[in-house]
């Protein structure tokens, strides 16, 4: 028998889907800004493995020479990005749904077991409620990252008026690097997230739009109340 099981609240679904285009615009406009001083590389022991970003990449996304435009978009959509995040966090705190979300002490050990399970190395996944241990960590980390982007962003944007924040971020350079690395982090989060959603299937995906999952329960066997002769007591062997 099918049963409707409520999963995601309306507000969670709205903020999730509103965040998607907002973060996309923030990353895109951020790349327009970054292009004008694209100094970051992946260099280990003097060997440069990768430059952010190769020319073909910049040209493909039509990035070069749009700094002013990038800043104008970035400094408008930052407000919506921050506001949407704030609404989600406040809701999570007030509604109590943080209980399903924050990692617990056991989550860090369990997340490992979840990973082994996902990789088909381990048969059983640890028991879970709404989110498994790995999800708890991932979905909390992404909020912390979002907060990190706002703080490091502010540190770069107003390093004089908010010099304390810049100092807390380890200075202008480190704030800028952190802001960049967090963005790379979002991209990796997105890739894994989408991959997992595809694997989890339709029922799971739908719940982030319509809010519920359909659970199939075993049809209950009708109980017929007939006096049954008592079985002779045994010791179970």
């Amino acid at each position: 028998m099918k049963v409707i099981k409520e999963k995601h609240s309306l507000l969670m679904r709205w903020t999730h889907w509103v965040n998607f285009p907002l973060l996309t615009i923030m990353i895109w406009s951020g790349m327009l800004i970054y292009w004008s001083n694209d100094v970051y590389t992946l260099t280990i022991f003097g060997h440069q493995f990768f430059r952010f970003f190769p020319d073909w990449f910049n040209n493909f996304f039509n990035i070069p020479g749009r700094l002013a435009e990038g800043m104008a978009f970035h400094f408008l959509f930052m407000w919506f990005f921050a506001l949407n995040g704030l609404i989600y966090v406040l809701y999570t705190i007030i509604s109590g749904s943080w209980r399903e979300l924050l990692p617990q002490r056991k989550s860090f050990k369990e997340a490992w077991l979840v990973l082994l399970h996902d990789l088909h190395i381990r048969k059983m996944a640890p028991p879970q409620n709404k989110y498994n241990a790995a999800q708890r960590i991932a979905y909390t980390a992404i909020i912390v990252m979002g907060f990190g982007s706002l703080i490091t962003g502010l540190a770069i944007y107003k390093p004089v008026q908010f010099s304390t924040i810049t100092w807390l971020c380890g200075g202008y350079h480190l704030a800028r690097i952190a802001h960049f690395v967090l963005t790379i982090g979002y991209v990796f989060f997105f890739l894994i997230h989408v991959f997992q959603v595809v694997l989890a299937g339709w029922n799971n995906f739908r719940s982030v739009i319509s809010g519920f999952e359909v659970v199939k329960t075993e049809p209950a066997i009708p109980q017929i109340d007939i006096e049954t002769p008592k079985a002779p007591e045994t010791d179970g062997k």
């Binding site: 028998m1 099918k2 049963v3 409707i4 889907w17 285009p21 615009i25 800004i33 970054y34 004008s36 001083n37 100094v39 700094l67 002013a68 435009e69 800043m71 104008a72 978009f73 400094f75 408008l76 407000w79 107003k158 390093p159 004089v160 008026q161 908010f162 010099s163 202008y172 350079h173 800028r176 739908r206 739009i209 319509s210 809010g211 519920f212 359909v214």
Partner: protein, 259 residues
């Protein structure tokens, strides 16, 4: 004909699923389409009408101006730019742009032309400026492009300049404008930033007279702003209650560009 009313059966689970999916996905589709249309409208919105600023999509310029108003609340003369020891200053000071420096120019002929808000004009020589107490600053010069460099500049504090040359009343005006001799590069500054205690009219770089390519004989060093506001080779200074022209703000950049 008694039982005209249809008996409303409670929805089956399948019907409930269908109905809720229909509503949710309907809203999702309409919302996505609206968001996309909204984005296209913004992305293809016409540029602002050119004034002291230009070159930005009109709604984005409005947003920049509103954001400026918000962040102006945090501006304070007590918020000082971090300074460094002289040894940390770059020996090879970066010159990022020559705009405004490419026309014929003779330092010997130079005078600063100051035009007050009421139209009065006065001329000030470099000797008069150098005769006043010098202020030095070693700070991290930040470019809107993203690079920065620790630089060492010396000159006359803007606020000292205003006080000494009887321009104290002009600090009540909203904006200061600066221009190169060829008028090709202009900078507009809000008064609070212009008279910030670390804003200087510089005539020395690394303890020596500023070379021509860095804006000799007099340039602006305004550490509370991005480099684009640090105009080289000042020739004209004007005051106005309305925004004065600004080269990079007319190329789509934020007029405020404050740090």
């Amino acid at each position: 004909m008694e039982n005209k009313k249809k008996i409303k059966l409670p929805l089956t689970v399948d019907q409930k699923i269908k109905r809720r999916n229909f509503i949710s996905f309907g809203i999702f589709a309409v919302g996505s389409a609206a968001a996309y249309k909204g984005w296209r409208a913004l992305y293809t919105s016409p540029d602002e009408v050119a004034s002291a600023t230009a070159g930005a999509h009109a709604p984005l310029r409005r947003a920049l101006n509103k954001t400026e108003l918000f962040f102006r609340n945090f501006f304070s003369n007590n918020h000082l730019v971090k300074t460094y020891p002289k040894e940390m200053a770059a020996k090879n000071v970066r010159q990022n742009s020559k705009i405004g420096l490419e026309s014929e120019f003779d330092v010997a002929d130079w005078k600063l032309e100051v035009k007050k808000a009421n139209g009065d004009i006065m001329y000030i020589t470099i000797e008069e400026i150098k005769a006043l107490p010098k202020t030095e600053i070693v700070f991290d010069f930040k470019c809107v492009e993203g690079w920065d460099q620790i630089q060492y500049w010396g000159g006359l504090k803007m606020i000292d300049f205003m006080d000494h040359f009887g321009l104290g009343d002009q600090t009540q005006v909203n904006y200061v404008g600066l221009m190169t001799p060829d008028k090709k590069y202009q900078v507009g500054l809000d008064m609070p930033s212009a008279v910030h205690p670390q804003t200087i009219l510089a005539y020395e770089m690394n303890g020596k007279p500023i070379p021509l390519n860095h804006g000799a004989p007099l340039r602006l060093i305004i550490p509370v702003k991005y480099g684009i506001k640090n105009l080289k080779r000042i020739r004209y200074m004007t005051f106005s209650n309305r925004r004065l022209p600004d080269y990079w703000a007319r190329e789509g950049y934020d007029y405020y560009s404050g740090l």
